[in-house]
């Protein structure tokens, strides 16, 4: 277990014009590609399998195994789709990565596509981040001009076209099958599984859908080797990952560190909580992961340990809240988000979030009624595991976990509005009083 940062994807973020091909190449960029082009596709898959790289989009499914699921005897074309629809509240790792270091993603895409024998790849970027889309498109253009993309890449006989696709701003399109529907030009709603995308994904053809950070980690694995990658992190959660520290901390930002680092260590690295504040609760991986409290400061941030602590590692979006924060209000805000973003396909998520948000709004206003807490828990029980996709489950996590740790605040909502108990001004970054 190491306690130092391991900048790999973020190593060049401070470089002059780090996003350009020249700057990236200067630092040794695209050497992974050169190496990969000399490898058999199956050897690339094996190397990634060996590395223990697990999906960085939150679920942690082994990336190499996912690539291995692609049926190579299927006569249809194979596709690689990069999920860059980063929309989870609190999650902010892929967008800065693509902004500062787009070429590591492009290089990863080429290597991953070659591994699964895809000749077309897509990066599906959420539509709101136009600056990132421009930057990616510029990087792709540079890569074409340098011969990294296109026909017969560097004489290898391998062809790849990469398309940057702008989404239209729907959280659901981060769900991989909804993303595929959206990419096909349809309404973004999750598909019935099976068939899984590996068998019938984009245009009913074998498709790998990977997170940005997963794909961006591939060039390093190819160049540095599985052992190098595995030297970081814990036994089952290997490698480096970007931890996004936000909220009431002294120095919010991206901290690239080995899996298994603790929040306490990260807070130390980030200068601690903001002056005069103490940790009240936090999310380990965005708003869909049950919240944790100060008692979990020493939980190793890997898939297993966070799971054992009753939450999920998710996207390592560490939202830090101090004692000025009303849990009820925070949960209401998240629930409003889920209500707004529910795609509407299935009943529990569509109707449940509509209901939960209204009940929480009442409670936030101090108009809670006896039985509301039990009602919230029961509604969450009727959504969790009953929805069509995981987004419904995610909507219940903040509520059930908040009631678990801060039930008294929900009880207080029967009589007192949250703004009286926790004046919102005190929670702002610029608050002078109340902290």
């Amino acid at each position: 277990m190491t306690d130092t940062l391991t900048p790999v994807l973020s190593a060049n973020w401070g470089d002059e014009r780090a996003w350009t091909l020249a700057a990236y190449t200067e630092r040794g960029g695209y050497q992974g590609l050169t190496k990969a082009l000399a490898m058999e596709p199956d050897a690339i898959i094996n190397e990634v399998k060996e590395s223990g790289l697990r999906g960085r989009g939150g679920a942690g499914f082994p990336t190499g195994m996912k690539w291995g699921f692609i049926p190579q005897d299927n006569p249809n074309p194979k596709y690689l789709v990069v999920n860059a629809d980063e929309s989870e509240p609190g999650t902010c790792k892929d967008i800065p990565l693509m902004m500062a270091n787009p070429h590591v993603l492009v290089e990863g895409v080429i290597i991953a596509s070659r591994a699964i024998r895809a000749n077309y790849a897509f990066i599906y970027v959420r539509g709101e981040v136009l600056h990132v889309i421009r930057r990616l498109r510029a990087a792709v253009r540079e890569a074409y001009e340098a011969g990294h993309l296109g026909k017969d890449i560097h004489g290898s006989g391998y062809d790849l076209d990469l398309v940057i696709h702008a989404g239209a701003g729907a959280y659901i399109c981060g769900e991989e099958t909804a993303l595929l529907d959206s990419l096909e030009g349809r309404r973004g709603q999750p598909r019935l599984r099976p068939p899984f995308p590996a068998v019938a994904g984009l245009y009913a053809s074998p498709t790998v859908v990977n997170n940005v950070e997963s794909v961006a980690s591939v060039p390093g694995i190819i160049l540095g080797g599985a052992d190098w990658f595995g030297s970081m992190g814990t036994e089952k959660s290997r490698g480096h990952g970007i931890f996004s520290l936000s909220g009431h901390v002294a120095k919010p930002g991206q901290y690239e560190a080995p899996f298994g680092i603790t929040l306490r260590e990260l807070l130390d690295l980030g200068g601690g909580m903001r002056p005069g504040s103490e940790l009240k609760f936090w999310t380990p991986g965005g708003s869909s992961t049950p919240i944790l409290t100060a008692e979990h400061l020493d939980v190793p941030l890997d898939f297993e340990a966070v799971g054992a602590a009753g939450s999920m590692l998710g996207t390592r979006a560490l939202q830090i809240f101090d004692q000025t924060t009303s849990v009820v209000r925070a949960v209401l805000r998240w629930t409003e988000f889920y209500k707004h973003e529910s795609c509407g396909k299935c009943t529990p998520c569509r109707e449940g979030t509509w209901w939960l948000a209204q009940t929480l709004r009442r409670m936030d206003q101090g108009k809670g009624q006896p039985g509301d807490i039990e009602l919230l828990l029961d509604l969450c029980d009727n959504i969790l595991g009953r929805a069509f996709c995981a987004l419904g489950d995610g909507a219940t996590s903040p509520i059930t976990s908040a009631i678990e740790y801060f039930r008294e605040e929900f009880e207080a909502s029967m009589t007192t509005p949250s703004w009286e108990l926790f004046p919102p001004s005190a929670s702002t970054l610029f608050a002078k009083e109340g902290v």
């Binding site: 729907a170 659901i172 309404r187 709603q189 019935l192 209500k339 707004h340 973003e341 529910s342 795609c343 509407g344 396909k345 299935c346 009943t347 529990p348 569509r350 109707e351 449940g352 979030t353 509509w354 209901w355 209204q358 009940t359 009442r362 009602l375 029961d378 509604l379 029980d381 009727n382 959504i383 595991g385 009953r386 929805a387 069509f388």
Partner: protein, 797 residues
């Protein structure tokens, strides 16, 4: 709600999977969904989005069950939607009956569904037959815990002139959108917005213009979709439901007729897996008010010889006058139209031979030919089913010739679409252009100039697993039916004759042709005549072939017919309506059996009111040759079927036909059996040599489903969903004749001119397509039919 029986009629052995549901072991075919496996043991898992004929979607989550063992010894961690879960060997399933988890999950979903539902059951059309209402009672909480604000929508929202949407009632199960995209192929409705604002809608300016839109109303599990015609008209529990058969085309679709106090309130699709599955056309569903228009005949009418006016008469008086007129006339003939039941058609056939002593009888109130007469007699009349709906799914190729199924046989169209999209059947269309309907069955077009269908068919490579569907307008193309017969003989491909009317095949089989006696017995064969004479207990039947429709009209015009009995013929349907009118005027004595006043009744000497299908029992023989028996719907109606009226005239004539009721006619017809003796030989005809006429274009035409036909009278909202009436031609043709696409073009024929908006389509040069009866009756106004020639010019005449 829809509960299906498992299909036990599988011929090939199916692999069975054994699983346990609620501690009951059950074996079902591999691939069965758990929700349907549960039905096998009599357990109904509540559901909304699930529909056995639509692809699983798993959207509503109502059918959640617990799966303690997925068949691999491990439990599934979450409750599973039983409508998307396939059975697995050794699987253990617990439904709401044995699992608290499943029961709570289902109750929870129902509570969610009702959270935003208006609960306006007392004023909702669906109240009383509503799956949401029923399942709330059987599986839900009595009280809702929802005290927050419901979402509101403006309502109703017109999806089309006929289909209205109440977005507040909608539970977003997507049955309607899935039906439209999967079954009908008209995805004009779709989900819009998201979350609780998600709703069904149409694209701006593109209404829900599907011929099958009414099915969405029927499969809606709540009262969200309603029809303009039926909304707020009645409550399900006030209705009496009677199964019946649709009378608007030759498909024989099963329907359910709901009536109240002697008045049909609505019609629904019946469930007949062999024929229409659970779908019908909008015409079958909405066009039922035609028989209760103000011009409905309620009493016999006899023409006063002094005033020349038709005056009400008693039945005995009218029958006596009819008999006297017929008895004294020299030269008699019978035109029966194509809308009769088999029993009534048989009564006409027998009446002509026994009471009038003539073979002058023809059911074809449309363009016909001698080639068709021979073809039908030799190859179709009184033959068993050789091509069925199910056969279309198993065929390698289905060839459409002279037939536009979406317009002319909607039920057949849907089955053809299923064959093409689900079973990969190749559809080849010998037609003038790629219509919307042909696109939806992925048809390969063999673009053909009207008149050249025989050559196109000749050139096709077919094998014995192909099926040829020949439409009735081939009667107007010399050599076309000969080519169908020849192709079938040469390749072993089966064919079916697909007429347009519900009673065409019934009339053919009943002997309403000048060359045919009932059961396909040729008039020309002595043993066939003897067979019938014996059955009818008469010394003989007329032994010479009678006059066909064209010859009857010609003879009438020439003053050679003394009397004419006409049942259910619209003059506008005949090849030359003006000539037909003149012909009838020239006949000395005309007896008309009709439901409503018509051009024929206005010319008749005696008018005898008869019952429309809803007011009598009978049988339609559909294009397959399948007998579709239906019972009388409006029990209170005293209207008489044609058979009873004809029996009355025959009695008065002193030459009784021996049958007075539909049941008697049916049993006599059944006893006759189909003719198993020799048939008249079929003499093959050749295609006419193409004679291009300078400065003229050839007309391709057929009737659109929703058109000006009188069978749709009174169904205004339905009629408003008709497709627009356009002229289609190739860009080259339009240019040649100085017509701007999108602008008006005028066609001129022997009878006159008419203007249509021109549209470019993939027709062969020198051909225009026009609708036969959409706003303008082409035969009457222009004087042409399919294959006719007209001049074409830009602008409005």
């Amino acid at each position: 709600m829809t509960v299906t029986e498992p299909d036990n009629a599988q011929a090939t052995p199916v692999e069975l999977v054994a699983l346990t549901i609620d501690d009951v072991e059950v074996s079902v075919p591999k691939g069965t969904l758990v929700i349907r496996a549960a039905e096998v043991i009599g357990t109904e898992v509540p559901r909304f989005c699930d529909h056995p004929l639509l692809a699983p979607v798993g959207a509503c989550r109502q059918c959640l069950v617990e799966v303690p063992d997925a068949g691999n010894g491990r439990p599934m961690p979450k409750p599973q939607a039983s409508c998307t879960l396939e059975v697995a060997p050794g699987m253990v399933v617990r439904t709401q009956l044995t699992s608290d988890v499943a029961a709570k999950a289902q109750e929870g979903i129902l509570e969610f569904l009702l959270a935003n539902h208006p609960l306006d059951c007392p004023v909702c059309d669906k109240g009383g037959e509503c799956p949401l209402q029923n399942q709330s009672l059987s599986h839900g909480h009595a009280e809702s815990r929802f005290i927050e604000t419901k979402r509101l929508f403006a309502k109703p929202l017109s999806l089309s002139a006929n289909v209205l949407l109440d977005r507040e009632r909608c539970v977003l199960c997507q049955r309607c959108t899935r039906f439209q995209s999967e079954i009908a192929g008209d995805p004009f409705i779709a989900l819009l917005e998201r979350g609780a604002q998600q709703q069904i809608g149409i694209a701006e300016g593109v209404p829900f213009g599907s011929y099958f839109s009414g099915n969405t109303i029927q499969i809606c599990p709540v009262g969200a979709l309603t029809s303009e015609d039926y909304r707020f008209r009645s409550r399900p529990f006030d209705l009496v439901s009677v199964p019946s058969i649709a009378e608007h085309d030759a498909c024989g679709a099963a329907i359910r007729v709901d009536y109240r106090r002697g008045k049909v309130m609505r019609r629904l699709a019946g469930d007949d897996p062999e024929v229409n599955e659970e779908w019908i056309t909008d015409k079958d569903r909405f066009a039922f008010t035609w028989s209760r228009q103000e011009d409905r005949l309620t009493t016999p009418l006899v023409r006063n010889q002094q005033t020349g006016e038709l005056e009400p008469s008693s039945w005995p008086g009218a029958l006596a006058v009819a008999a006297r007129g017929l008895a004294s006339a020299a030269g008699k003939a019978v035109l029966t139209g194509g809308r009769l039941t088999a029993e009534d058609a048989y009564a006409y056939a027998k009446f002509a031979r026994v009471a009038l002593g003539t073979n002058n009888i023809d059911f074809r109130s449309r363009a016909m030919s001698k080639e068709e007469t021979d073809f039908l007699g030799a190859k179709v009349a009184g033959t068993p089913v050789t091509v069925s709906y199910a056969d279309l799914e198993a065929a390698s190729t289905v060839v459409l010739v002279g037939l536009e199924p979406e317009d002319e046989a909607g039920t057949l169209f849907l089955r053809l679409r299923k064959a093409a999209t689900q079973f990969g059947v190749k559809v080849v269309a010998i037609s003038s252009h790629t219509t919307r309907g042909l696109k939806k069955v992925n048809a390969e077009l063999i673009a053909t100039v009207p008149g050249e269908e025989p050559a196109a068919l000749e050139a096709l490579e077919l094998d014995s697993s192909a099926v040829i569907l020949a439409g009735e307008r081939l009667a107007t193309v010399a050599g076309a039916l000969s080519a169908v017969a020849a192709k079938s003989e040469a390749t072993g491909a089966r064919f079916a004759w697909v007429p347009r009317r519900a009673g065409d095949r019934s009339a053919l089989d009943a002997g309403c042709l000048p060359t045919l006696l009932p059961g396909g017995r040729p008039v020309s064969l002595a043993d066939a005549r003897a067979d019938i004479a014996a059955a009818w207990n008469v010394p003989n039947v007329p032994d010479t072939a009678g006059l066909d429709t064209d010859a009857i009209i010609a003879a009438a015009t020439a003053g050679e017919l003394g009397a004419l009995v006409i049942g259910g013929v619209e003059l506008a349907d005949l090849a030359d309506p003006a000539a037909a009118r003149a012909a009838i005027e020239a006949v000395g004595f005309v007896v008309s059996l009709e439901v409503r006043q018509s051009e024929v009744t206005e010319l008749a000497d005696v008018v005898l009111p008869v019952a429309p299908p809803a007011e009598k029992a009978g049988t339609f023989v559909n294009w397959e040759g399948r007998h579709r028996r239906f019972e009388k719907v409006l029990a209170e109606s005293a209207a008489l079927p044609d058979v009873r009226v004809l029996a009355g005239i025959a009695e008065e004539l002193g030459r009784p036909i021996g049958i007075k009721t539909t049941d008697q006619a049916a049993s006599e017809l059944a006893e006759l059996n189909d003719w198993d003796g020799k048939r008249a030989a079929f003499r093959s005809r050749k295609q006419s040599a193409a004679k291009p006429v300078a400065k003229k274009v050839v007309v391709s035409t057929w009737k659109q489903l929703i058109d000006g036909g009188r069978g749709q009278d009174g169904a205004e909202a339905y009629s408003a969903t008709a497709r627009s009436s356009v002229l289609r031609a190739s860009a080259q043709t339009l240019t040649t004749f100085g017509v701007e696409p999108g602008a008006e073009a005028t066609v001129t024929g022997p009878a006159g001119s008419v203007a249509f908006v021109a549209e470019v389509a993939d027709l062969p040069d020198g051909v225009v397509w026009l609708p036969s009866n959409s706003g303008v009756n082409l035969g009457a106004v222009v004087g042409v039919g399919h294959g006719g020639k007209v001049t074409l010019a830009g602008g409005k005449a």
